[in-house]
């Protein structure tokens, strides 16, 4: 066997390499919510509206979820995986207060991020701060001009960093689709 030319094995090796590399990686954007709001005294609920595409979510379109976050702490996170149809998505995240008290919750901080673009076969991360300084007072919210409070369009994503994102506590199966 010492005289076997390696070129004879090349087709088999190429075939193996092609088969080994045919599985795609996940295309995902992880949204990490950071903030200095006190849970649950200042906020006890999280409302998330999602919409596929670059347009901001509106009331009737897309997907809306609400969850109680009384037992949680920052950072909070969730993920969006791409099915390849829409290259981007948009979300509105609202921290509210009163969700657990049976009353109409009041918005504490609200931010909208539009046109969040997927990077093919990569897991990216978007860190969005929700600061006490951006909290609404009654029915009035801060005027635009503060980059830490304003809405964001086509944000710059960073590669996923497990040190910044909290560990997953959910089975890795999609909760829903938009």
């Amino acid at each position: 066997m010492a005289g076997v030319p390696t070129t004879r094995l090349l087709p088999a090796l190429v075939l193996l390499a092609a088969v080994a590399g045919c599985r795609d990686d996940v295309t995902e954007v992880v949204v990490v919510l950071e903030g200095d709001l006190r849970i649950p005294t200042e906020t006890d609920g999280l409302l998330v509206s999602m919409n596929a595409g670059p347009a901001a979510p509106t009331g009737g379109l897309g997907l809306n979820t609400s969850s109680v976050i009384s037992g949680l702490a920052f950072p909070l996170s969730f993920g969006f995986t791409s099915e390849g149809t829409s290259p981007s998505f948009s979300i509105t995240v609202q921290f509210v207060h009163g969700l657990t008290q049976g009353v109409v919750p009041t918005i504490v901080v609200s931010r909208t991020i539009t046109d969040i673009r997927f990077v093919d076969q990569q897991t990216m991360m978007l860190v969005v701060p929700f600061l006490h300084a951006c909290a609404c007072m009654g029915t009035s919210c801060p005027q635009p001009g503060d980059p830490n409070c304003d809405s964001i369009q086509t944000p710059v994503l960073k590669p996923f960093d497990p040190a910044l994102a909290p560990p997953s506590t959910m089975m890795n199966q999609p909760f829903a689709g938009i």
Binding site: L15, G79, T85, M170, I178
Partner: protein
């Protein structure tokens, strides 16, 4: 998942070109220089030995046509084991690649956890 024809094609390529049949190969005949016939050679007379008879029964093995050497069994040829090993390695690789779980997405720690964007 992988077409069998693809594996068969890779095996054929790994086998290499088929060696030409020894019987069909004709060695080039060297040209024998023809001596110039400047003068007619003297008439030759056959030597006496040419008129002797040959006894075929004395050594029949020398006159019988030579038989080809015995063919090496396929399983004793290194090419067979290269192809068989390559096919086995390919099958193992394909099986592992197909059955191994893919990378899992990150699902977060708060609803909506993981959303699929269509």
């Amino acid at each position: 998942m992988l077409p069998a024809s693809l594996i068969f094609a890779a095996a054929l390529v790994a086998w290499g070109p088929v060696a030409p049949d020894a019987a069909s190969v004709t060695a080039p005949v060297p040209e024998v220089p023809v001596p110039a016939t400047a003068a007619a050679p003297p008439a030759l007379t056959a030597p006496p030995v040419a008129k002797m008879t040959i006894d075929r029964s004395a050594a029949p093995e020398l006159l019988a046509p030579s038989s080809p050497p015995p063919r090496t069994p396929t399983y004793k040829r290194w090419q067979f084991w290269v192809i068989a090993g390559g096919a086995l390695a390919t099958a193992v690789g394909v099986t592992i690649a197909v059955t191994r779980p893919g990378p899992q997405p990150y699902s977060g720690n708060v609803p909506p956890y993981l959303i699929s964007v269509h």
